[in-house]
């Protein structure tokens, strides 16, 4: 009986397991790819396809590790792009290998030089490397500094046929400006001879170099860093500082440096690149790179070093901050992001027909193909150059959290009626959302600790408070003359009334600008304090004073920035001591407030409200450690809350005036009755 029972249980267990496995297989969702892109083979058979920034931005992040110093490289590719799949026209998966680019050779081959015939406009020399070599870089040394020259570089297998490698390059060594560039990069090719021609039209000829060398590269090139343009926008900023927000095409891109292109002339400014990162309970800007931007312009030649090395960014938004000093705002023309040498893709095409490459599936595991057996030999195989077609966005993956997910999408319920202010958050796309806090929130929230986001049923939506380094600029318009300004007869003063958007604003900065160019004025800011008691008069308190001076008639005056402490009033009086001069013309003023955003994850289309105005409420405590990776590593859709309505009246908890009067009457009557009773009970001369 026991054996039969055991068998029966075994059968039941097997059936159950089979059913469970079947159900599990049925529930395994098909991978959702965000991007699809055509991969066009160069020919049937082995193909080589370069990984480019588009693929890097859309696929799983590339991983790099510091390479041994002996390798001569800073980073070595170790993995990534696990979500990349190639499909043929019938939907069958095509195996591929992701192959690390060969390390660039650090072997430099020196060459002998032979001057070329100099003219009034040109001079130069030819370089003989001794044999035909695959090279990609030329290095000169021993040219007496300083110099700044425009050059043309040509290469050839013999001395009769030349190919232009660099049509118009610039080489320089300016010790005073600490600018030096004595190497020329060019597309790798096989050359024995190089010809460098100096352009002497606008500068004196330079002496021949003491030594010349060319960098020899491996047969399989492609190990050069790759750059791609990054979009950017100018952001509001305080005077003497330029701020730009850079948008990267994807999170966790292995960017190593940013190269700026700027307009204008000479340049010597400190620049810093920030990225929002979690610090404690807030998201704050953290510097991930900095550099001193240098550029010297002589005639029409430019020597510049506008490269900023950065640590790998986590998200898709970077902030570039440039200290302008006493110069005009930086004229930023372009930004290119530099990636380390990228891997390449090896695949075999049966008929040379186009393939479909799909990527952008965050949870997809790396594929395992039998093609892996070929990895050691693919670098030596002759492969046709495949190329990419257009990319197509298939839409973001669904954002609904899987059951049992530890990520906090919804928090505890909150009593929405306890908040004085409730503002609608406009609908937007699902995913990461950044809600910009405006001056009304800063004025009416209690140190931002009482901020809550709630859905229609009153459940909280967890958020991270992000403090931006850039200020929030609020235009105040033209300053109004203050007719109540008290001017002693002996003083020539101008009085203005500055109206801030709200009272109870936090610390801020007032920015004043003028069209005048030569002036010196003393400015004083005052606020009207309430009387110390009901019988005293209001008094004025000085909250700031500064001397504003500009002496160069050829340049516009820099704006004046005056710090404002936290104020409980919305009107500030500005007094300008004009001396014996005419009133200083003032342009529209603005106030700079601290800027904050709330980063939260929108998982459905439910309407959301921003709640605040509950002074006793402590800061929320969400599971930030779990939330942070989701709200920092993705592109945020920025929204602004709807306009603030007037404050709701708080319930009055004290008794009404009528109730108070009735109580006082009753109390007096009760006292009188009790006194009367005692008087009646205790007759005069109570006998012992």
């Amino acid at each position: 009986v026991s054996v039969r029972t055991a068998l029966r249980w075994a059968v039941v267990l097997h059936v159950g397991i089979a059913l469970g496995a079947g159900r599990g297989a049925a529930q395994t969702p098909a991978p959702h790819f965000t991007y699809e892109r055509a991969a066009i083979p160069g020919a049937a058979g082995p193909n080589r396809l370069a990984v480019d920034p588009v693929l890097v931005a859309g696929g799983r992040p590339l991983a790099y590790a510091p390479a041994p110093a002996a390798a001569g490289r800073q980073l070595t590719f170790t993995g990534g792009l696990e979500d990349l799949r190639l499909y043929d026209s019938s939907g069958q998966e095509v195996p591929y290998l992701l192959v690390a680019a060969p390390a660039p050779s650090e072997h430099w081959q020196s060459g002998s030089t032979l001057p070329i015939l100099a003219t009034k406009e040109e001079s130069g020399f030819e370089v003989d490397l001794g044999s035909l070599l695959r090279i990609d870089r030329l290095r000169l040394s021993g040219i007496p500094a300083p110099f700044l020259k425009r050059v043309r570089l040509e290469g050839g297998g013999d001395r009769n046929h030349w190919s232009v490698l660099v049509a118009e390059g610039t080489l320089f060594n300016l010790p005073d400006e600490r600018l030096e560039r004595e190497e020329l990069s060019f597309p790798a090719g096989e050359f024995q001879y190089l010809r460098l021609t100096w352009n002497d039209r606008n500068s004196a000829p330079v002496s021949p170099p003491r030594a010349v060398a060319a960098r020899v590269v491996a047969p399989q090139a492609g190990a050069l860093p790759v750059s791609f343009p990054a979009t950017f926008e100018r952001r509001p900023s305080e005077p003497r500082r330029s701020r730009f927000r850079l948008h990267l095409p994807g999170p966790r891109m292995p960017i190593t440096a940013l190269e700026l292109s700027c307009g204008g002339g000479h340049l010597l400014r400190q620049a810093r690149v920030n990225e929002p990162q979690l610090s404690g309970t807030e998201v704050v800007p953290v510097a991930i790179g900095s550099a001193l931007l240098r550029r010297a312009v002589r005639d029409d030649l430019v020597a510049a070093d506008l490269r900023i090395s950065i640590n790998r960014p986590e998200g898709t938004e970077l902030e570039l901050v440039v200290d302008d000093g006493d110069n005009p705002p930086l004229e930023l023309l372009a930004v290119s992001a530099e990636l380390p040498p990228l891997p390449w893709i090896y695949f075999e095409s049966a008929a040379g027909a186009p393939l479909a490459a799909r990527f952008g599936a965050p949870t997809l595991a790396a594929p395992r193909y039998d093609l892996e057996a070929m990895r050691e030999s693919v670098t030596a195989r002759q492969a046709a150059e495949a190329h990419w077609g257009d990319v197509r966005n298939l839409g973001p993956p669904p954002v609904e959290l899987p059951a049992g997910s530890p990520l906090p999408a919804i928090g505890a319920p909150v009593d929405v009626t306890a908040f004085r202010f409730a503002r609608k958050i406009p609908p937007g796309p699902l995913g990461l959302t950044a809600l910009v806090l405006d001056p009304a929130v800063l004025a009416h929230s209690s140190r931002l600790t009482d901020l809550r986001i709630a859905d229609a049923s009153g459940r909280q939506v967890p958020y991270l408070l992000e403090r931006l380094e850039e200020p929030m600029s609020v235009d105040l318009g033209d300053l109004a003359r203050d007719p109540t300004g008290n001017t002693p007869p002996s003083h020539n003063e101008s009085h203005y009334r500055i109206t801030l958007p709200y009272d109870r604003l936090p610390s801020s900065r007032l920015v004043l600008s003028t069209t005048a160019r030569v002036f010196e004025r003393t400015l004083t800011l005052q606020i009207e304090r309430p009387p110390v008691d009901e019988r005293s008069s209001p008094r004025r308190q000085t909250i700031g004073s500064n001397v504003w001076r500009h002496t160069d008639p050829d340049t516009p005056a820099l704006a004046l920035v005056l710090d404002l402490p936290p104020l409980d009033v919305s009107t500030v009086a500005l007094t300008i001591s004009e001396g014996d001069n005419s009133p200083l013309p003032l342009s529209p003023a603005r106030v700079l407030l601290p800027a904050y955003r709330l980063r939260f994850f929108r998982t459905n289309d439910d309407p959301l409200d921003l709640l605040y105005g509950q002074p006793d409420l402590a800061a929320p405590r969400y599971d930030l450690a779990l939330l942070a990776p989701r709200v920092l590593g993705a592109t945020a859709h920025e929204v602004h809350p709807d306009a603030e309505a007037s404050a709701a009246a708080l319930p009055v908890k004290h008794g009404t005036t009528t109730e108070t009067k009735v109580f006082w009457g009753a109390l007096i009557i009760a006292v009188a009755v009790l006194v009367f009773l005692i008087a009646r009970l205790l007759t005069k001369g109570e006998p012992a």
Binding site: V532, D533, G655, F663, L667, L674, I678, L682
Partner: protein
């Protein structure tokens, strides 16, 4: 107090009702002539204490001082009903504490910020009610055996203390009227208007005290009033009007002479002429 702070005065009323029930019970179990006055005085005094503290509890400033003053007056009244010596001592002690707290403790003026209205403020009800309580207690005790020794009576002390409190109230209200800032400031050499306000106030107080002394046949009150009047006149002409120049100063001396002559007449008429009158 759980949100019932606005009705806290109801609590001592309830406690007074309970104590009154005890008084009733005491009177019922002890027939007249066999009662222990000490016990009856204690219970009745406690009932009065609750009654007198009911209204001051509703006030938010100096309610305990007012309560003590009213309790002192109530005990003086009770002493007329129950001739128990402890009641006299209790009443005198409470009134003494009130006097010390309001007259000899300058810090009492800084316990609370100044009110929003001149005259009609917490100084008025605190000092006036306390002074009235002391004067009332003194008045009630005059018909009793309240002698402490051969020369000193509790009633005289209480009436004197009440008068001093009224005089202090007068000066406090004047100082409050001219003060700026959250605290009260006495400034006897500020400007002519403030100085003259003090002078006029003192003069009116002295005249009022003189009238009270005449009406109440109190020689000490009359002497005090004339003394205050002399001080007031001297202050007026030698301090307040001293800053005037030329003929105004001459005129002030003429006025001083006339006022002193008037004081001499009053002194002759109401003080020296009443030597035979009992104090």
């Amino acid at each position: 107090v759980g949100g019932f702070g606005g009705y806290i005065g109801a609590l001592p009323i309830g406690q007074a009702v309970l104590m009154l029930a005890l008084v009733l019970r005491l009177l019922a179990i002890e027939p007249p002539g066999q009662r222990q006055l000490g016990r009856l005085a204690l219970v009745a005094g406690a009932a009065l204490a609750f009654i007198t503290v009911a209204i001051p509890l509703q006030l938010d400033r100096q309610w305990i001082t007012i309560g003590w003053a009213l309790e002192g007056a109530a005990l003086a009244w009770l002493y007329r009903r129950i001739a128990y010596r402890g009641l006299l001592v209790w009443s005198a002690g409470l009134c003494a504490v009130v006097f010390v707290r309001l007259a000899l403790n300058p810090a009492v003026l800084a316990y609370h910020p100044r009110g929003g209205l001149p005259i009609w403020n917490w100084y008025l009800y605190t000092y006036f009610v306390s002074a009235a309580a002391l004067l009332g207690a003194g008045r009630l005790l005059r018909a009793t055996d309240d002698r402490i020794d051969e020369y000193l009576r509790v009633s005289d002390c209480l009436i004197g203390g009440g008068t001093v409190l009224l005089f202090l109230l007068l000066n406090i209200e004047i100082a409050d009227f001219y003060s700026t800032g959250p605290t009260l400031t006495f400034n006897f050499s500020a400007d002519l208007a403030q100085d003259l306000t003090y002078t006029i106030g003192w003069a009116l107080f002295a005249i009022g005290l003189l009238a009270a002394g005449i009406a109440g046949h109190s020689r000490s009150a009359r002497v005090a009033s004339l003394g205050l009047l002399v001080i007031t006149v001297v202050k007026c002409f030698l301090h307040d009007l001293w800053r005037l120049g030329g003929l105004y100063r001459v005129g002030s001396f003429v006025g001083l002479a006339m006022c002193l002559a008037m004081v001499a007449v009053l002194l002759q008429r109401f003080v020296l002429g009443a030597q035979k009158e009992a104090v």
